[in-house]
Symmetry: D2
Subunit: 360 residues, 4 copies
């Protein structure tokens, strides 16, 4: 179903930007894992608006509440419901969206599909929906810690518009990512990125970029042949995030200009383990993890909402002009980092359970 | 499940390269659609080996047989089973694969996952598996013709290694694609691509490239918010194809270097319809089709099997050398075109039925 | 997944008897249906404890709150989250359940499965979980009203222990069911049933019975061949309710003593419609509705919790005695009526949407 | 989907009575299980027509062929396709069904749903469809043998019309069931049943009855709370079989006339295991197995096809008479026994894998 993700660790998110709240129900979580609200809050805080001067100023604490599935600090094996109530909703700031479809936004397509839409703050198409994913992934991390110990997911900003960071996916640390507000572990480039975002915002414009993500410590064997290949599920997870336009794994599009003799990853025994000399495969072969680091990149377009006058049409079919108000990110990348990480965790958690089901 | 795709138009593929055969069961197909084996065969012929001098010489007619779900030339609404028996299997040509994992192939990961593998011809990881998808998509085309009349899917080779074609997705015709053996509608570039593939093959090497696909005549409203966005399902479908490393829609990765003011697609009324002036969105906004052409690209790596000596390891954990024999494509792109088209058709068929279910 | 039901109208329930609350997320609901909290509350009130002197005295208003998916009184097509917070929880009344498995309850099996359980009030196995189903079905009724106008579901108590009511499923009205607190439309028998429940309760004992349900005005064609037959999905829905031990449709078990010549329902044309002279099929043939009334019965065992000393074991593996306290129904049947009705509505809603998807 | 069953051990059946054949694809089977065609054939032979003088004389060897998923005698973990081609099809014997809906059959409902039907031999509604289920269950038995050693499923005829057998589910053996052609382990009653079926058949009439099934050696913990309760999935599986009208587990409908104090199963420690003194729960509590024998019963109506003149209507809406020809069972019960067993195996296999996924 449209708002569900995962086969065995299945999440159902709900909520609109300006309704009663947002949340998630997680079904299929193994029992007896330690879990409390603080475990979830730490990731929600990395995603929340108002966290720094380069993101949207909407002021939401995004305080989560676990309503079920946990007893005396442990998961019960039953559905875990997590709610976040909306606090700083200002529907009046969106009044003009009622009468004009924002270009490159979901206003028109929702109206075309459903014949109705919640025009306040983007409704269900708002990035606010990703709260449920990030909360669910915080739970997924507990599952992975239990059944894939040593696995770690690190996502970071690889580029903002033309500004490209130098990062080694084999060694990058979570602490370096969180060390600055743009979440780019290349500290020097991070400063330039922050300045650039501020400059763009002051012009009422927006920028996009690329988030790169590495998963290290993955046991060989996760993922399945044919449709539920690990990279296919990762691609779906990433392209399901708002504002994404592309996904590539390992050598990606650049790999298409190499020859097979240049591209192949030779196998070699190393300390009794099968390793590859290079990692153009990006840690996945035939849809299944090979034990090397999984490395992929996700393209985010520049934020659609800009503070410049744009040409558009009204629900009544008239050509009109729109100049947005409201509170928006001039660049979604800093807040997209925990979202990418969350989708990676959700995919891996599901496949770790599937692997255990079929292969013991 | 791993070998199933689609929610309402659900296909289940089965079969290994060198087992009894390959096939598909299609569940959920609407009734009373005209269908015969020839409808399917025409697409299987575009996918089959041995079709031209630049693809693998394995000689398979890939003759399909419909075993159920059709009565007196019409679909019954019940599962449609389509079988293709393997004919020109030569397992002996793969004997060395029993004792060495082919680099950048699925040999090692299947062994790591399952503790067993059919080493003959790649087993389930062979591109032969895509026969079931192409057959199912031939049926999907009948569904689309009935409920989305005017919708057309055209895929083509956009690049082979560094050779990049000029193609206008708004006007490219199926006949131009099928006019040459490399399936590139830029006729001059097609000749260069063909020469290049022959040259590479003669060196025992391989090349990859990019397939572009356009879907025109899509009604607004297909696709769903959040996880089952149209681009998310397309990304999953494409990354589930063998040898794929990347997916991008509309502006894709190149769009990340534009500003919002450059990237946004202004809306304008045109003949009473809502249109966009540009199409950087690639026909999808907020996960839902907006009525413009859907345009996406898929990266295919160079074929892993090359006829050069490579370093690898054996199932017993020894470093060994491997020089492949067998019959392989030096470039999968010409045969990948109908596969990309098939996955696009399957995604659209499923979403067309989902749209009808929820929105009438 | 365990806590999800439905393929297109999919509900996800969550919550324990004594946790933060209970609720449901409904995904796949068509847009533009009128919906407010009062529409849901009316059915929750029929299910709630404390509604009459023959049900559990736990005092819960079960006030629902719609948190998403509705805007300006209309469904949006996006997930609808409904929450009910627990109010009158008294976990201390269950303290002895921490140390003794209640006979014929789920205490032991939850512990055996998960290695942990919320022993307060039965946790997830409590009938309180059905709040989410009843709320979802209130929404399902809106869908059915829109796409199967004229369809009506009426459930009622058919028997309490040996007391058997006389009811004509072809004519029974909802108002007669709701006319008394035991929800038996045979008014005379209802009085006897009420007296009987009171007498049994005063002895600290409990009784079960049978709920019958009729669905009239079903269009021919709902349900699907093979696994998702209408009666199969109804059977699953009913056996998923707490305390159920059996399901039968049409002639049911009694039909097994008839001969084919006695059992078959002859077809006859009536006012231009295909009808059957008798209805031993119970409105379903080959898994698909035939337009006659769907009639089925569900067996509910006597409530497991009784106020008598019982032999049991502790989680530590010792034989112990248990005498329950807490607040319980001596007979679940009156409150089971809206639950049976809810599951019937959920099955029919899902199949109505599936029918529209495949057959237009 | 309609022709799929199971969440992790998922089967997809296909085929009509008089099409090219019938079969199944099994997805999710664990690897490295021994499997050959003979393992499947032994169960197909118990289901096949023509096996004795009291079943339909249609002469089908039902020879199966495994086309994929098995290599050198072991499962690969990939989809297993099993085909059975139709041999003794005599469509001309069904010519009158083209022009008249058989009473209490699926002819009318298929026509109403799909607007088309394969009128030869019942098409997809034929019991011939169950070949795929029985074949899949033969594979499921291998899975259960590996991960639930000691688990055994025994189904048998409990009654034919009024003739009721005495059978102790705790001790009944498979060999006693297979000792006679009616598959009733009460040898004396079996003789009377056989005579009765012959007598009824000679009158051109038919009879139904009850199949009882016991599953012994089930580990505690299989099944899941709420919707996917073990009894709910068993109920769905059984009601998905042709000609079924009811399901009950443990005390079933008879349990509704007991009081709680009479019905509850007291717990007691026995050799260090938690056991129940009685088993009115039928081995399942709160949807989860408690380690006691699972015992349930399934009601089969008398075969709809009888060789007597019946009143019916034509597809053109005229009242007509029909006298069937063709080859039919006067009583489906003997052949239903392996079908009930198959569905029980499929449910348990799926839940055993689900249990391993979530609870290790």
């Amino acid at each position: 179903m449209s708002s569900q993700f995962g086969h065995l660790f299945r999440i159902s998110t709900w909520g609109e930007s300006h309704g009663g709240g947002v949340g998630v129900v997680v079904d299929g979580c193994p029992p007896r894992l330690p879990l409390c609200e603080a475990d979830i809050q730490v990731d929600l805080d990395r995603r929340r608006p108002g966290q720094s001067e380069i993101v949207t100023p909407r002021n939401e604490a995004d305080q989560c509440r676990i309503l079920s599935g946990v007893f005396e600090g442990q998961t019960l094996g039953t559905p875990i419901a997590v709610n976040v109530f909306n606090a700083d909703a200002r529907p009046e700031a969106y009044r003009e969206m009622e009468h004009a479809f924002r270009p490159s936004h979901a206003d028109y397509t929702y109206q075309a599909k459903y014949g109705v839409r919640n025009w306040q703050g983007g409704g269900r198409s708002s990035a606010r929906e990703t709260i449920g994913r990030v909360a669910a992934a915080a739970i997924g991390k507990k599952v992975l810690a239990a059944i894939c110990p040593g696995l770690e997911v690190v996502a970071y900003v690889k580029s903002i518009q033309h500004l490209q960071a130098e990062v080694d996916p084999n060694t990058v640390q979570f602490s370096s990512v969180e060390a600055n507000m743009v979440r780019c572990p290349d500290a020097a480039m991070a400063l330039r990125m922050i300045d650039h975002i501020k400059a763009v915002r002051s012009e009422g414009d927006s920028v996009g970029g690329v988030v790169e993500c590495v998963v290290r410590g993955v046991p060989p064997g996760l993922g399945e042949p044919v449709f539920d290949r690990l990279e296919a599920d990762l691609a779906k997870g990433m392209l399901s995030l708002p504002a994404t336009k592309g996904f590539e794994i390992g050598s990606g599009f650049a790999g298409t200009v190499l020859r097979g003799s240049e591209h192949n990853d030779a196998f070699v025994m190393e300390s009794g383990r099968v390793r590859t000399v290079t990692n153009r495969s990006g840690g996945v072969q035939g849809g299944i993890s090979n034990g090397e680091a999984i490395v992929f990149r996700v393209a985010f377009k520049p934020t659609a909402t800009i503070f410049q006058t744009q040409q558009t049409v009204s629900p009544e079919g008239e050509n009109v002009e729109l100049k947005a108000r409201g509170r928006h990110d001039a660049c979604v990348l800093p807040r997209a980092v925990p979202m990418v990480e969350a989708m990676a965790v959700l995919v891996l958690t599901d496949h770790a359970l599937r692997q255990r089901a079929q292969n013991g």
